[in-house]
Symmetry: C2
Subunit: 429 residues, 2 copies
Amino acid sequence: MFYHPEESLQRSELDQLQTERLKAVVENARKSPFYAERLKGFDTREISTPADIVKLPFTTKDDLRSQYPYGLLTRPLDEFVRLHASSGTTGSPTAIFYTQKDIDTWADLMARSMHTAGIRKSDVLQNMSGYGLFTGGLGIHNGSERLGCLTIPAGAGNTRRQIKLIRDFNVTVLHIIPSFALYFAQKVREEGFDPKDMPWRIALIGAEPHTEETRQRIEELMHIKAYNSYGLSEMNGPGVAFECTEQSGMHVWEDAYIPEIIDPVTGEHVAEGEIGELVMTTLRRDGMPIIRYRTRDLTRFIPGECACGRKHRRIDRIAGRADDMLIVKGVNIYPMQIEQVLMSMPEVGQNYLIELFHEGFMDQIRIKVEIKDQFFVEDMRALQNLQKSIASRLCSEILVTPRVELVMHDSIPKAEGKAVRVVDLRDKE
Amino acid sequence: MFYHPEESLQRSELDQLQTERLKAVVENARKSPFYAERLKGFDTREISTPADIVKLPFTTKDDLRSQYPYGLLTRPLDEFVRLHASSGTTGSPTAIFYTQKDIDTWADLMARSMHTAGIRKSDVLQNMSGYGLFTGGLGIHNGSERLGCLTIPAGAGNTRRQIKLIRDFNVTVLHIIPSFALYFAQKVREEGFDPKDMPWRIALIGAEPHTEETRQRIEELMHIKAYNSYGLSEMNGPGVAFECTEQSGMHVWEDAYIPEIIDPVTGEHVAEGEIGELVMTTLRRDGMPIIRYRTRDLTRFIPGECACGRKHRRIDRIAGRADDMLIVKGVNIYPMQIEQVLMSMPEVGQNYLIELFHEGFMDQIRIKVEIKDQFFVEDMRALQNLQKSIASRLCSEILVTPRVELVMHDSIPKAEGKAVRVVDLRDKE
Ligand SMILES: [Zn+2]
Ligand SMILES: [Zn+2]
């Protein structure tokens, strides 16, 4: 049933394995110039449970930048066989190095992840993502071959050729970026094919964060099961956390990583089930271990146990970036929380705007919400009820009462490109 | 000194190995629907030396097309982990399938090839070719990792980022397409860097056929050693034949392939050292063996032994496609032969035109040659001498006496895009 024996470990076994491996990681990390300095004075014997990880310092993106390119390497450069680098278009670049052992570990984790989503050796996988420095391409490719799938390195673009390959070779699994999947489903229809008749059954769409609604749309439009996953190059790439066939959160492979969720301001663990910043530690990276890496990605642990039987903790889909966090009346608020509430209400249109301002010494939050035309009626009472209902739902999610202002469809100015969702007027006063 | 023991095999040992492996290939190939039929009635015991390969039938591109997609597979589909397909924009597509063992064999041959060109584990290789269905990307990538080089999957394009990666990571080896190399050398200068100061030392430029002059220009402009190689997806991809550090022809790895050179019309072997069509047989492809594949590529065996000590036969750089061959007075002539003679003469300009026509029942060949302005002088005798000298050099190369006509610079009309070099007027008469 499971691909690796590690998948069936009980919680106590996972805890023990994590403890042992965390100790080894600390010892290994000290071989790098960066951690030799950073971990000076830390006694590895202070670790006796995974929870002791809080005694270790964080590692940030800025640390990776300042150590570029070789500061985190624990081995001589000629023992490495691969590097992936960020483009460095924003700020300084970062680079992640892999030994052959690291590449093998990654491929194994990736193969396990795909198996977890129901993919088998007999599947035919078309890898529709770009290759190159982006870890998604080679990561999925190596995992697919490791699992034994017939792997088609189609790369990105060229919709017609993609369709031809899928039909000619009875492709059963697609690795496809979610935003491209929506376009692709349309194109398949335009080329005269019914998605129902296509041979595919599974789409891996974890390459970019997306909502549950997007997943459901992809599943409906393509007649496919779409699986979410989580990865980042600092933790190898894809294959860090993956949905099982229950599709209820992504299992973090806790034999290979220790996940934590912290308050981005205080650095303390949040209460179980609360949203915060995901912090990750590699337990099986040999050449470039990274301890307590602040991913800046927001998510929460999903409480309880998964019906699949795996005890590896699950994280929820990514709900934005820590840098988006707002503090209002001392409470952490994530715009994604507000968006989720609004988008769940049928009366609400596509656009909204969050405004923060001071009233006296108090923070206030005002949310302008576009209402669909058919609900923007003359009946004042109906509108008032809608307004109260939105405010109350938001309050129970963000724990602060916002002022809700209903506005007409298309009345919030749209910026070119990325939508502006938050205006903070507090600094200007 | 050598990467694999097979590199030091003596000729008699290679012959023996080829004989054994060829027998095994025939037996394995029979498991595929295509060869079961094609080899019906052939008794494997008829093979007792590699020369007996001529008793086997050819396989053509059309065969691959008619058998698309699965006709040449010797194993169940779920034992394959990779396929590369031609784009199929011209004519029907072809597809090549690989088992895990085939991928490993390919990576090994590729690693050996790179080692032969002087690349070592301590090198840093930047793979500047596209990935995807093109075998050059993943082929070089896997070989580089297999050899233990630090491999940067940069992919194609983005010149500035390429330069930054090369400088940041002290890249010593580039895999780069020759036409891009010439552009890239220019760009590096424009960005303010002297190629002499760049960390590179070796460029692999085998991805597209090119002349010796192009290689020398790349070497001079980039201050680099540029190595040619030969490969095609039907024989895995790159890693079929590679230049050693002697740079005097490409060693075909004869423990893995049997190369032949034939007259494209008669199908008979040409005399040693003569140009003809390269025919290749896989000796180590498990899932999809191909016997006597007509590559349509023109080359010749380089006579004699290489100073490096390897006995694996060498082929010359590709001199065009068999489809370009002309038959004049019963003699095979390749336009590339004519081009090579012309381009070796300092008086000759960039353009020329080959015209074939009938005179009575006889084929005639006329070659219009543009002469550089400074040589197009009033002195009739000097021009006549030049004309005779060109005709005589051409005759000793193509074994037919052409009529040579000297014309002024820019007097031969240039077509848009690809130059028209041959006009055959014989069909029209
Ligand atoms: Zn599960
Ligand atoms: Zn040699």
